[in-house]
Each structure stands twice: as structure tokens, then as C-alpha cells.
């Protein structure tokens, strides 16, 4: 892998790849949007109202608000992850679409950048839909503040898109992705403060949680929903950027080893 490691080449040629994914998505946009949103929405509203009615304020806010802020980050993470795991894998391994593209004057860097930016676009869509619910139900503190959630969502999509592409690069089949969900995604959902505050966890677990990318995402999103300025903005932004960029560079090297040998 080391000999394949190098900085990504950035070129506007990724746009036709992005556009290809967009045009395919557009064909089935309505069911895709509904499918993407139904799940997080049901959890958020079901648990938010059902469980929320039994609870006092959580983290200094109504439980529904608490959960809505977590859901923005969590559903963004899922959107990016599913896109670069299952969909990218189909295009790379099953349909051999990447091979076809690379016979044109396109490099693997262009293809992967197209996939990554497409994952960001899908995340934005997912995050924006949850944000729309937050606006609709008036769960926010300050409307203008919630607009900052949009770049946060893009950043979270970038981070998890990059991480997922590493899995995509090493996966022999779709089944392999279950490891990633069981060992990485699901634990993060439970440890990073989506459903309950991290402060409820034992201290050593809290220490682990502080390192996880979803924690950083939620630490940015939740204050913005409530209407306050997040603490340690630089730390969280840099953490997400570092997770995303490092993963992306590693994913490129691993994919290069996989496809260009």
C-alpha cells in the first residue's frame, strides 16, 4: 500500500462522474428521498415524542430537540456511509462502471473524487431534510444559527464518505460491510450522544467517545440547533477534516492497489 500512497490529484474532471451518479439518482429521486428519510424521521419522531414525554429535559433541552440535533448528524453519517459502501461498491466491483470510466481520459483520482463529492451531496440532502423537519416543528433556538448546520452536514458527509471509501477499497463483497456497521457505525451511534448525552457513560468510555468523529459532528450540530455557538469549533472541524482527508488518502492508495495493478 505504501508505494501507492500519494496526495490526491484534484481536477475538475470529477464532474462527469458526479453528474453520472446524479442523473441515475434523479431517475428514482422520489422513492430514494422517501427511503432515505423515512427511517431517521420515524426514529426521531417516535422516540422523541414517545420517550420524550417520559423524560425531563435532556442536556438542558426537550428530548425531541436533543434527539433531532443528534439525528441530523447521524442521518448524514448514514447517508454518506451507505452511498460509498453499497452504491460505490456496485459501481466499482459489480457493474465495472469505474473501469469503463478509466478507459476514458479519467484517472482513479477523478472517479474517487466524483464518488466522494456525490456522497457529500447525498449527505446534504439527508441532513437538509432533517433540518427541514426541525424548522417545521420549530425545534430550533435561532433560525439564522441553524443555517450553519448546512456546512456542518457537508463536512460530516466528507468525513464519513472518506472513511467509507476505505471499506469500499478492501471489501471482497457486500457482506463485508456488515463488519463496518457492527464494529464502527453502530457503536458510534450509541457512544457519541445521538440518543442520550455522552455524560451518562462511564468515564473511560467518555474518553473513547471524545475521539470518535460522530461525537465531533454532534458537538457542532447540537448547539447550532439550540441556538448557541458550539464550543471548541476549531477542534471539531479539524477533527472531522482530518478523519475525512486521511481516510480519503488511504482509500485512494488501497483502491489504486486494488484496481490499477
Amino acid at each position: 500500500m505504501i508505494k501507492h500512497l500519494r496526495l490526491p490529484l484534484l481536477s475538475w474532471r470529477f464532474i462527469p462522474v458526479w453528474q453520472r451518479n446524479y442523473l441515475v439518482w434523479k431517475k428514482l429521486a422520489i422513492p430514494a428521498i422517501l427511503g432515505n428519510l423515512a427511517d431517521p424521521m420515524l426514529y426521531m419522531l417516535g422516540l422523541g415524542y414517545g420517550l420524550g414525554s417520559l423524560l425531563p429535559d435532556v442536556g438542558g433541552m426537550p428530548y425531541l430537540t436533543f434527539l433531532a440535533a443528534g439525528t441530523v448528524a447521524y442521518s448524514t453519517m448514514n447517508a454518506a456511509t451507505f452511498e460509498v459502501l453499497y452504491s460505490s461498491f456496485s459501481r466499482m466491483h459489480v457493474q465495472r462502471t469505474w473501469d469503463a470510466i478509466m478507459n476514458a481520459p479519467m484517472t482513479l483520482d477523478d472517479v474517487m473524487l466524483g464518488e466522494l463529492t456525490w456522497a457529500v451531496a447525498k449527505s446534504l440532502l439527508s441532513g437538509l431534510a432533517i433540518l427541514a423537519v426541525i424548522w417545521g416543528l420549530g425545534l430550533y433556538g435561532n433560525f439564522w444559527m441553524t443555517l450553519w448546520i448546512i456546512p456542518v452536514v457537508a463536512l460530516v458527509g466528507f468525513c464519513f464518505g472518506g472513511m467509507g471509501l476505505v471499506m469500499n477499497a478492501v471489501s471482497p463483497s457486500y457482506d463485508f460491510f456488515l463488519y463496518y456497521f457492527t464494529l464502527v457505525i453502530t457503536p458510534m451511534v450509541l457512544l457519541c450522544g445521538v440518543f442520550f448525552p455522552v455524560s451518562q457513560l462511564p468515564l473511560p468510555v467518555q474518553a473513547v467517545s471524545a475521539w470518535l468523529p460522530l461525537t465531533h459532528a454532534i458537538d457542532l450540530a447540537r448547539p447550532l440547533v439550540v441556538g448557541s455557538v458550539p464550543g471548541d469549533i476549531t477542534l471539531h472541524v479539524v477533527a472531522l477534516l482530518v478523519y475525512g482527508s486521511l481516510s480519503y488518502v488511504i482509500a485512494l492508495a488501497l483502491t489504486r492497489r486494488r484496481l490499477l495493478k
Binding site: 474532471r13 462527469p16 462522474v17 453528474q19 453520472r20 442523473l23 441515475v24 431517475k27 457493474q95 465495472r96 462502471t97 473501469d99 469503463a100 470510466i101 478509466m102 478507459n103 476514458a104 481520459p105 479519467m106 484517472t107 490499477l260 495493478k261
Partner: protein
């Protein structure tokens, strides 16, 4: 059009391509033949600049590969061995998507699509989904897709593998049209008949090395006797012992059959007459005989 010097590619300790020299002229149809694992597909990937050689140089239409692979690929159309049309798009959308990968404007692609559909015989299928196409249609569409940017040179990796004879002949017709239009074609194939019919010159590769190069007829004439008599049946062993070395210039025993290569088939057939239990097939020698002579009869899996 294409010049390759000393091309070498290693995977670990195995050299897959070993010091290959090739020269393909403009407007020529050039065949790359070889058993499985001879290095044909690796060579094509090297020519496209998808992988980097360990040694040697490639120049494609005057452009150095892999250093300037992007520019070179603007001039190349590729028909891959494995079907990789975009199953999420219709026939027409496949051509549009592919044109965009070459940086073509929408109007430029739109102007080109009707003639590509006509070329592929798919004008009536423009809006069909890929899953609705037969194997032959898919291959023709892949060929049309490779032409979307009007390349000077076409690489085809086993373009007719898995097709029925009708579909294969259609592909051949298409390729002949392209050759007549002055395109340069490099194709790999397992079908000797295909190579004999289409190529002006061909190279036979084995174990990553060039073992023969030339026009198909010239290769047959220079490497092998003009006629073959294939002999099989009861009493072959005795006949082989008593007669083979007198009447055959060269003979080869494969399983239950004796391949007798000769300049004078009449003599062989006369010598077979006293043994009616022996059956035979007399035919002119062909490229397959050359291929088997040069690369052996062992299976390469």
C-alpha cells in the same frame, strides 16, 4: 501509430510482460494473440497507461504513455473484455455519459449519437435499457461507445468472445468498416479465424514474450507445412511407427490423434489406404496450427 520498446511488467517475481517490442502502423489492424496468461490484457492495460511498466517505453500517436496517458486516451477507444456498459442508463444515455467522460459538450455528443446508433444497428433501441439487449447488441453498443469521441486508434480485448456466429459476423463487419475509414485497430483474440480474417499483421505472445510476428499468411507459410492430415482410429500406433516418419515432414501425437504436417498430402493419404480402420481429415494448415506449434498444447489455466 503505436511504438513499444522493451516493455516489461513484473508482479512480484513473475515477469508477465518481458521486453516486448511492437510497432503498429497507422490504418493497420493488428492482432495480439496468445494463450491465457500470455500477457495480452496486461499489455493492453500498459498501453492505456492504466498501470506503469517496470521498464520500456510506449509511444501512442506520438504521445508518451504512461507519462501523458490522459492525452493519449483522448485518441483511443476501448472495447473491454468484460461488458461494462452502465446498467442504470438507456442505450442513448450510455453514449451521452461516455462522451462526457471525454469532456465533450452535450451538443457535440448529440450530433454524434445518431450515426453511432446506426453503426451499432441500434437506432430502434435508443431508449432501451441495457438489460433488454442481447449479448451481441451489448457488444455493438460497447463498440459504438468506444467511438463516441472519434478516436484514431481502437483497442479491442477479445471483442467477439461469447457471441454467436451471427453476432460475431456483425462485429466483424463493423470492424471492417472502421478499418476502411482508416482507423488503427489493435485487438486481442483467441479466435484464429478472427485474426486471420481481420488483421493485417499479428503478434503471438507467450509467457510475456513475442514468439512470432507478421501477416497471417506469411506466418503460416514460414512456420508450418502447407497441409495437415489428422489421423485417428484403430491401428494408429502401428501406422505411426511404420510410416509416419517417411511421409510426414513433422508429426505430433495428441491423445488418440496424429497430426501429420506435410508438403505432400497425397503421399500421406496413399500410405493410409492399406489401413481402412484409420480415418483421416485432410485440410490446409492454418493459423491455429502455427499458434499451437509456437505455444504448445498444454492447457494454460
Amino acid at each position: 501509430m503505436l511504438t513499444v520498446r522493451g516493455l516489461t511488467k513484473r508482479y512480484g517475481d513473475t515477469e508477465v510482460v518481458r521486453g516486448l517490442d511492437l510497432n503498429v502502423r497507422r490504418g493497420e489492424c493488428f492482432g495480439l494473440l496468445g494463450p491465457n496468461g500470455a500477457g495480452k490484457t496486461t499489455t493492453l492495460r500498459l498501453l492505456l497507461g492504466l498501470i506503469e511498466p517496470d521498464a520500456g517505453s510506449i509511444e501512442l500517436a506520438g504521445i508518451a504513455v504512461p507519462q501523458h496517458a490522459r492525452e493519449a486516451r483522448m485518441k483511443i477507444g476501448v472495447v473491454p473484455q468484460m461488458d461494462n456498459l452502465d446498467p442504470d442508463f438507456s442505450v442513448r444515455e450510455n453514449l451521452f455519459a461516455y462522451g462526457r467522460y471525454f469532456g465533450m459538450k452535450k451538443a457535440a455528443i448529440a450530433a454524434r449519437v445518431p450515426e453511432l446508433l446506426e453503426f451499432a444497428g441500434l437506432s430502434s433501441k435508443a431508449d432501451a435499457q441495457i438489460a433488454q439487449l442481447s449479448g451481441g447488441m451489448k457488444r455493438r453498443l460497447t463498440l459504438a461507445r468506444a467511438l463516441v469521441h472519434n478516436p484514431d486508434i481502437l483497442f479491442l480485448d477479445e471483442p467477439t468472445t461469447g457471441l454467436d456466429p451471427q453476432a460475431r459476423h456483425l462485429i466483424w463487419q463493423g470492424l471492417r468498416r472502421l478499418i476502411a475509414d482508416g482507423k488503427t485497430i489493435v485487438l486481442t483474440t483467441h479466435f484464429m479465424e478472427e485474426a486471420e480474417r481481420l488483421t493485417d499483421r499479428l503478434a503471438i505472445l507467450d509467457h510475456g514474450r513475442l514468439v512470432a510476428e507478421g501477416a497471417p499468411r506469411a506466418l503460416i507459410e514460414s512456420h508450418i507445412e502447407p497441409a495437415v492430415v489428422e489421423i485417428y482410429g484403430e491401428g494408429l500406433a502401428g501406422w505411426t511407427r511404420d510410416h509416419a516418419c517417411q511421409v510426414c515432414q513433422r508429426s505430433e501425437s495428441v491423445g488418440e490423434t496424429l497430426f501429420c504436417y506435410t508438403h505432400n498430402a497425397e503421399r500421406v493419404i496413399d500410405a493410409l489406404k492399406p489401413v481402412p480402420a484409420l480415418r483421416y481429415l485432410h485440410r490446409p494448415s492454418n493459423l491455429e496450427d502455427v499458434f499451437l506449434k509456437l505455444t504448445g498444447r498444454d492447457l494454460r489455466d
